[in-house]
Each structure stands twice: as C-alpha cells, then as structure tokens.
Amino acid sequence: MASKKNTIKLQFNSSRNLAPAPESKSVAKIADKYDLFINGKFEKPSSKKYFNTINPANEEKLSSIAEGNGADVNKAVVAARNAYEKIWKKTSAKERSKYIYRIARMIQERARELAVIETLDGGKSIRESRDFDVPTAANHFFYYAGWADKLEYAFPNRKPQSLGVAGQIIPWNFPLLMAAWKIAPALATGNTVVLKPAETTPLTALKLAEIIQEADLPPGVVNIITGAGATGAALVNHPDINKIAFTGSTDVGKIIQKAIAGTNKKATLELGGKAANIIFDDAPLDQAVEGVINGIFFNQGHVCCAGSRLFVQESVYKIVLQKLKDRMESLIVGDPLDKNTDIGAINSKQQLDVIQKYLKIGQQEGADMFQSSCNIPKKGFYCRPTIFTNVAQSNRIAQEEIFGPVLAIQTFRTEDEAIEKANNTPFGLSAGVWTDKGSKIFNMTSKLRAGVIWANTYNKFDPTSPFGGYKESGFGREGGLHGLEGYLKV
C-alpha cells in the first residue's frame, strides 16, 4: 500500500452528473432597447447610437443599450444639480430614508427577476446572484436608509453636510451590488447621483432605474447613463461634479486621479488587488481549502479582493495541494442559469483573452499548471478553474491582477516570511489568514497591509463593514459608518 501513497486519488466520475436544473428565464423581462435614465425619465441618447449587451454564456444578444455621450452626461449632471438644489437638499433626512427603504424593499420583491437578469447579462452562477448579489444589494439600501437621519451621531460634534452631485462609475463584476454600494450611501447623505454602469453589464442597473422610477424618487436624484469608457471620462471631467466614486481597474483609477487633480472633486477609488491567502500548518485544513476555493473561484475570480495568491506553510503544502485538487474536481462549471453551477461564464471575450494570456505567461515562466478535468460548454466564454504551483514572487502571475479563476500558489516557512511576501505587492486590498491560534491571527492582521483581512474565512461581505484598500488598491472606504464619510463634508 505504501507505494500507492502518491497515487491515491478520489474518483469523481462523470456518471454522477446531475440532471439539468435551470432557473426559469420567463421571470426576466428584458426590453429590446434601453435608453438613458435622466431626470426620472428614459431618454434617447443624443448620439442616437446603441450598443449590444450579450449573454456571455452563449454569446446571444440580450438587448440594445443607449450610448451616452458628453451632451447626455451634461444633461444628467444638470438634472442631478437641479434635483440637489431644489429638492433633495431640502428633503428631510427621515423622508430620504423612506425612499431608500422603499428601494430596498422593491429590490427584495423583484429579487428573482434581478437575479436571473444578473446571471444572463454577467455570466455569474444563479446560485451566487440569487444568494449573494441581490440580497446583499438590498441589504446595503436597508443599512444606509437607517443612517440617513443619524448622521450627526455618526460624526459627533460636527455638522455633516452633503457634497452635491456624485459621479459614480461601477464595474462589471457585481453590477447591481456595486450600484447599491454607490447609490445607497450617496442618497442617505443627501447627495444626488449620476451613475455609469459597465458597458458589458448594464441591465440590472437599468432595472434599478425602473425601480427608482416606480419608487417615486424625485426626478433627477438618481440618473443612470450607459456607455463605455468615453462616457465615463465625460462624467469624470464634468466641471459640476463634486465627488467621483469609482470601482474598477487600477489603470483607469490612475487616469481618473490625474483627471481630477487640481479640481475640488472629492474621490474614493476602489481598484485592483492581488490578495494573499495564508494557510498555517495549525489551520483547520479542510475549511481552509474551502476558503481558498471561495477566495479564488467565487464569481469566476472576477473579484477585486479575490484570494489570488495562496501561501501555504511548507509542512502542510502537499496535503493542502492534494485536498485542493480533489475539491476542484467536484466544482461544476457550465450554464450559469443552472442551479447546480458553481462556476459560470467569464464576463466577456475580452476578459477571457486576458485570462488566457496569463495562463500562457504562467506556463512560459515555468510554473506548473493544473486545471480541473470538467467539461466546459462549447459556446460562450468559459475557463476551467486553474492553479499554478512552483511559483515565485518574481513571476508575473504572482504580481499582476488576472481577474479570473487562476490561483498562484507559493510556500513559506515562518510567520515573518509570510508577512513579507504577502505585503510584497503594489496592491493592498485584502488578505486571508488561516490558523487555529488566536494570537497568530492578531499578529498577522496587524502587520498585513491590506484594507480587509479575513481570519479563517474569506470573501465575506456585510453592509456594516467598511471595504477599501491601500496603495494601488485605492483609497476611501465603502460600507459601514466609514462609507458615509466619502459623501460628506465633516
């Protein structure tokens, strides 16, 4: 038996494939065409141009989306300014919170529809959009609705004042949730909003526009402008914006910071990450492996705080790797609408190309690649869950954000080495520590330079908890009491 030791492997046969269990699409009402949401109404874009949004799971067109240009952005900012000066500024905090509560409840009421649309447009599994994205989005509105009339308690002995018009640009990885992260605190603090969703995933933000319309929020308080990079640039450069809130890539974050330098615009930037997930030999290993899986394969790895670097103490490296590989074999990759799918479709062709580029780079650099043996659909954008071993700090796959289901694994010997390697990155958004020893957790968490650090868990989010990064991961905090500060003069 001893000679068999290295070959012992669990069998996860395909004969146990689960029968399809697709969520019904009928609940999702998607119009053929969506216009810009300005001043409480849907308006045609002045460019008269529309672009397609597709389902990345099968590359089929879902709808045509208006492309907003500078003139449209200006219209939206003017609407937001008017709404701010004439209505929202004068609306009592209690009234504001009523609207926000109403939006939260309406998101809950339409949770199923929103979840299906999120999955269709973005490619994430229905399990995640149903159990995570939509309920967490509603929770953000509920949470900030509660703050609206308590701002003076949040910042005692000051008189917190709203800023004015907030320009908000959100990414494609959590379209509805990011819209909630941005809009809820802005409204609670008395600001008005012009929001630009990502071009590949505009649908749930537009559904949110419908909800906002139905909730009778005064016209112009929230405006939603769809489009690509140029639309975002027009928003950032508009002179009558008081605050820019951006979540997205570090490259674009740098452009924004240059653009607003020398202006009065406040900003919060939530950018990329290359988080270290650190497993010590005294950790509960099976739960740690599960945390690694959740850390890197959640939302196909399209998560800025994804645990994309794994550090394992050398004494448990072999067993962790064995457990990780076996666990990866039990992941189901495929149709995002199927309730059993663990890993859905990559958000876009463009992103799939980026991921595949890094898979090549990793192999060229000499790292060993392992992918689970699952089948993936022929049509649509998919990537098997992937890990790289034999990786060093100097490998590009250990340094650069891949934003896909790709994990770079390294080993370490001591606590100090783990801290040094974990911090040896231009990013500083998040980290994870796995150990059974409380004192070690405190030592690690006080020395890791990351905005969010999880101990014995990973990728946990709550509206009450602030989120944000250090260094090239951005600045400012969203969520919790801290999330109010970015929208107030205090």
Binding site: I8, L10, R16, L18, A21, D286, S330, N340, T457
Partner: protein, 303 residues
C-alpha cells in the same frame, strides 16, 4: 495493516472550524436534484438503509415483520432494491438471520452494552461474541464516551481494537455518539481513534441521544475518512444514524458523500443510513415520480 504501525497522537488530531464546516455542509443542500438523478439517488438511498428496530419491547414477531419489509419494500413498484441490512439487538439476531434467509440482506447487531457502553470490557466482548455466534454480519459498537471525555484515548482505542478482534469476519461499525461529544474537534478525534483502532465503519449515533446525525457532523467524519484514505489507502465506510427521515435530506447526504469522497463510496458497502422511517418517505417520493401524484401514508406498509 503494516502501514498503520505508527499510531498518531490523538490529542493532536486536526482541528475543525465550526463556522467553516457548517457553511460547507449547508452548501451541499443548495444542489438541485431532479428527474433521473433524483430517482437514481432515491433508489441508491433505499439500498443504503440499515432498517432498524432497537426497542426494549422488540419481539420475535416485530423483527420478523421488519425483515419481511426489508425484503419487500413496496411490491407495487417492481424492480426496487432491498435495504442493505436490518439492525437489531443481539437477542434478535437469530430471528432476523432466519427471516432474511438468502436475501443477501445483512444482519447488523448493536453490541457492547448499547447504547451507553457503561459496562466492563469483559461484558462488552461477550455481548459482541454472542451476536456473532447468533450470525450477525455486522456489529455496531458504542465507544466509551466517559473515558473519551476523561482523555483516556488509549482506553477507547484498545477497546475498539479488542472488539474488532472479537468480530472476526464481521464488519465493525463504531458509534461515536456525536451528540454526547460536544464539539466538532472531538468528533474528529473520536473518528481518528476509531479508524486507527480498526473500525470498518464510523457511525454518528445510537439514535437514543439528541442531536443524532447532522450534516456538519457527518461532514467532519467524511473528511476524517478522506484523510485516513489519503494517508493509508484504506477505505472506511460511513453511517449517519438517527434524524434522517426525509428523502430530501437523504439526497443531500448523498450529494455530500459524492463531493467529499467520490464515486467509490457511492454504494452500500461504504455508506449506510441508520433509519427506520426514511424508507417509507423514499417509497412515497418514488411513487410520486412514477405516477405524478402523492399517495397517502396509508399506502405504504408500516413495519
């Protein structure tokens, strides 16, 4: 068993994170089991049942009826599998053995001063040997939880090893009585002790203590089995018992088994449900799948 020469220090068994294990266990319940997967799963679950009666008032008649049920679960549904085994007290083994005849259904007997285990080693060994002599194919023993809580792991280990020896060819199921152990860490430790001492099965509960089997507890034990397999290449079987009375829950357990240990464990040599009312619920679901409508409980025999 040469590979087991080094017995680990059981005070150092891997730790379990409570939040993590419960989260993982609940994730299995998110799987949606439909159509042919459901029917296959239900039939498999039926075939994994240890149909059980462990009452002070058990009689020859009751056991004979139960054995008939074991052989003829629901004759209105042709082609159904039988259950895996009938589980009884030692005094009923002879009756059960005779009633089951050459059906292939095993007779499992609880032993070792079941359910408390509070007796001498000598009594426990004789209890076991009596059941074996009566023809038991499998022995379900209980560990000495008191000694376990006192930290006397060697005592617990030696006792299991002694009973295993007394079992001869019969397969030994070691009941940890997880409801009395108090933490997942201790469930893991007891699992390791049992496996290293020679258990063929590890089993959650007697059914006499609440809580009995739960998904997180079973997951801890499945992961212990996996680690043991990684280390030694030896497969250990699993039996959650008590508290599993609904088909849906049984399917969740099978999903868990499949995703933790894989295909090789997906049969009744390596996995059992200790249950009495589960069978009828599965039969009801199977008939529903076949006919499209639910039938009342009166259409399924109570034995």
């Amino acid at each position: 068993m040469t590979e087991l020469k080094t017995i680990p220090d059981f005070s150092l068994t891997p730790r379990i994170d409570q939040v993590g294990i419960e989260e993982r266990a609940s994730r299995f319940t998110k799987r949606s089991i439909k159509n042919e997967t459901k029917i296959n799963g239900l039939k498999l679950a039926l075939n994994m049942i240890d149909l059980t009666t462990l009452e002070g008032k058990d009689t020859d008649g009751k056991v004979q009826q139960l054995c008939y049920k074991a052989r003829h679960l629901h004759d209105a549904y042709p082609g159904l599998p039988t259950v895996a085994a009938v589980c009884v007290y030692p005094s009923m083994v002879g009756i059960a053995k005779k009633a089951l005849g050459n059906s292939g259904i095993k007779v499992a007997s609880v032993a070792t001063a079941f359910p408390s285990g509070q007796s001498s080693r000598d009594v426990k060994l004789r209890d076991t040997k009596f059941a074996i002599n009566q023809g038991a194919d499998e022995i379900d023993m209980v560990i000495s939880r008191g000694k376990f809580h006192q930290g006397e792991y060697n005592f617990v280990f030696d006792e299991i090893a002694a009973i295993k020896e007394a079992c001869g060819k019969a397969r030994l199921k070691v009941i940890l009585e997880t409801g009395e152990l108090g933490s997942y860490d201790k469930v893991r430790r007891a699992s390791d002790i049992a496996m290293y001492a020679g258990a063929d099965f590890i089993k959650t509960s007697t059914g006499k203590i609440s809580p009995a089997a739960t998904m997180p507890v079973t997951l801890v034990m499945l992961e212990a089995i996996r680690d043991f397999y990684y280390k030694t290449g030896k497969m250990i079987a699993m039996k959650p018992a008590g508290g599993i009375s609904k088909s849906k829950l049984a399917l969740h357990y099978l999903v868990m088994l499949n995703e933790v240990l894989g295909e090789e464990w997906m049969n009744n040599e390596w996995f059992r449900f200790g249950a009495s009312s589960l069978a009828n619920d599965i039969l009801m679901q199977l008939m529903k799948q076949k006919t499209g409508v639910y039938q009342s409980a009166d259409y399924f025999a109570l034995d």
